[in-house]
């Protein structure tokens, strides 16, 4: 198991963003996460990356209990994420953004770090923009930069937060291909996404989250057909 969530709970006052959340992710797996807005999906990522501390429960990554570890430590250990709303270092160039991840998170040095960044930039199709300030990128390019930074950290576990949102169909297709390639290279992925067809093209397994609780888990197509999902997304009563 690369990642194990053990009974994670977290609430903000009366709002429960995680309720006894437990699941496991095997090495090399691609896990999809769906659920309505406000279900606690992004909070779940915050719990995994360490920017949010749980009230209860444990996060076990790569055999180590990292519940008390800082975000920086978890990043070095191999957890990288892309943000739903891209947050580049806007005063720095695309290449420098990549280099921060490569040198700080992946601990690469000098020419090796540069080579790795160039390789990733090529993979994410941002090579032509390498020397542009990140603050001047378009939304699509910023999303690619999120992916670039996460990959430059040489993650064992890659968390993607609605990376396909807001893209055109063609852009979405090429991004899906990129993510497939990354997955094929051995990176374990957890992907939160509303663009379901993009998600289904990559993931092996799907979990459904609502009110911070895992309400379904299993083979993607079966889950999408399930009554619980239909109830959440289409408002059809489960027992109707």
């Amino acid at each position: 198991m690369i990642l194990q969530l053990d009974n994670l709970s977290r609430s903000f006052g009366a709002v429960k963003v995680a309720q006894s959340l437990s699941y496991e992710v095997a090495e090399g797996e691609a896990l999809g996460v769906i659920g309505p807005n406000g279900a606690g999906k992004t909070s779940m990522f915050n719990l995994i990356t360490g920017t949010l501390a749980p009230n209860e429960g444990r996060v076990i990554f790569d055999g180590q209990d990292v519940t008390g570890a800082s975000a920086a430590k978890r990043c070095r250990a191999g957890i990288a994420r892309s943000f739903q709303v891209p947050q580049p270092f806007s005063g720095m160039t695309v290449f420098e953004n990549a280099m921060i991840a490569a040198t700080q998170a992946a601990d690469l040095r000098g020419a090796e770090a540069e080579r790795h960044c160039l390789h990733v930039l090529e993979q994410t199709e941002l090579l032509a923009k390498a020397n542009v300030l990140a603050g001047s990128l378009t939304l699509l390019e910023r999303k690619r930069l999120e992916l670039t930074r996460a990959l430059c950290a040489k993650p064992k576990l890659l968390l993607l937060d609605e990376i396909a949102g807001g893209l055109t169909e063609a852009e979405c297709q090429s991004l899906v291909q990129t993510i497939k390639d990354i997955h094929a290279s051995g990176v374990t992925i957890i992907w939160i996404e509303h663009v379901v067809h993009a998600l289904l093209a990559v993931v092996d397994r799907l979990i459904v989250i609502d009110f911070g609780k895992k309400i379904a888990e299993g083979e993607p197509r079966a889950i999408m057909e399930s009554a619980a999902v239909k109830e959440i997304y289409l408002g059809i009563e489960a027992d109707a």
Binding site: C75, R81, F83, F89, S90, G91, M99, I100, R149
Partner: protein, 287 residues
């Protein structure tokens, strides 16, 4: 010719002010910390220089070889041990804590060295000059200016060409994301303060060579440093050098009109620039 002389002397004096300011600018740029104790740290470095020169009898310039590493270590320890705890969304705690630190430093120095003015002496260097036509330039001011340019160039290079500089800029840009990228901001802030106090050490020694100092000299140095940073514009180190030069020139021109106007005319130049261009002359950073 007298005016040209004042202009050149002022420019060279500006180098010293830029050194006062560079550390302030660096710290504010990386961690948005306004260090009220900065002037007193400069004076502390001058006293450390005094201790080293009198203990082992080396030239003050050579004493930098010990004072700079000492201040670097003090900077890192100060940041990790004290100042990191004050940083957050509120600007007030670091202001209050560094103000308190300033009081402690002044009184500590008073206790240790008395209120008598002290000076670092380097007989050859203080009086040496080179003639440039009818103008004679002191070697010490020239050296100070040269060191200031080298230090600013070095800081600029560190900021834009090294992995440490990238880390400084990333933390300055977005602390939370930088943390997620595996940067330990407490450590990075410690390194930034270490670097700032290394520059402060150089500034303190050069201050001690130029004029006499006493435990209460820090406040004035802090003001000059602030003025140079604000005139130059936040986040631009070459701007800080320009700010120092403008301040230095304003002071020497003022002193030329009436010796009592030296400091006043520097403040007036600062206020005029603040009124016309509140963001400074060459700002790189917004907010």
């Amino acid at each position: 010719m007298d005016w040209l002389n004042a202009l050149i002397q002022g420019t060279l004096l500006g180098g010293l002010y830029a050194l006062f300011a560079a550390g302030l600018s660096l710290i504010f740029g990386v961690m948005r910390l306004v260090n009220i104790a900065h002037g007193d740290l400069i004076v502390l470095a001058a006293y450390l220089g005094l201790v080293v020169t009198s203990a082992i009898g080396v030239h003050p310039i050579l004493a930098m070889a010990l004072v700079v590493p000492a201040m670097t270590l003090i900077g890192y320890a100060l940041q990790r041990g004290l100042l990191n705890q004050t940083l957050g969304d509120d600007l007030l705690p670091p202001l209050l804590v560094t103000f308190g630190l300033s009081v402690i430093l002044q009184n500590g120095l008073l206790e240790g060295f008395s209120a008598d003015p002290q000076k670092l002496s380097a007989p050859g260097l203080e009086t040496a000059s080179v003639a440039l036509g009818s103008i004679s330039l002191g070697v010490l001011p020239l050296l100070t200016f040269g060191i200031a340019v080298a230090v600013i160039w070095g800081l600029q290079w560190t900021f834009y060409k090294t992995s440490l500089g990238r880390a400084f800029r990333a933390v300055s840009d977005n602390q939370d994301i930088a943390q997620l990228m595996g940067l330990n901001k407490r450590h990075i802030f410690g390194l930034a303060m270490a670097l700032a106090l290394a520059v402060t050490a150089v500034a303190g020694i050069l201050l001690g060579l130029r004029t006499s100092f006493d435990p209460s000299s820090g406040g004035g140095r802090l003001i000059f440093g602030f003025e140079a940073v604000i005139i130059g514009g936040l986040g631009n180190l070459w701007g800080t050098l320009a700010g120092g030069v403008i301040l230095g020139v304003a002071q020497t021109i003022g002193a030329k009109i009436d010796p009592g106007w030296q400091v006043l005319s520097g403040h007036i130049a600062f206020l005029v620039i603040l009124a016309i261009r509140p963001q400074g002359l060459f700002p790189r950073m917004s907010g």
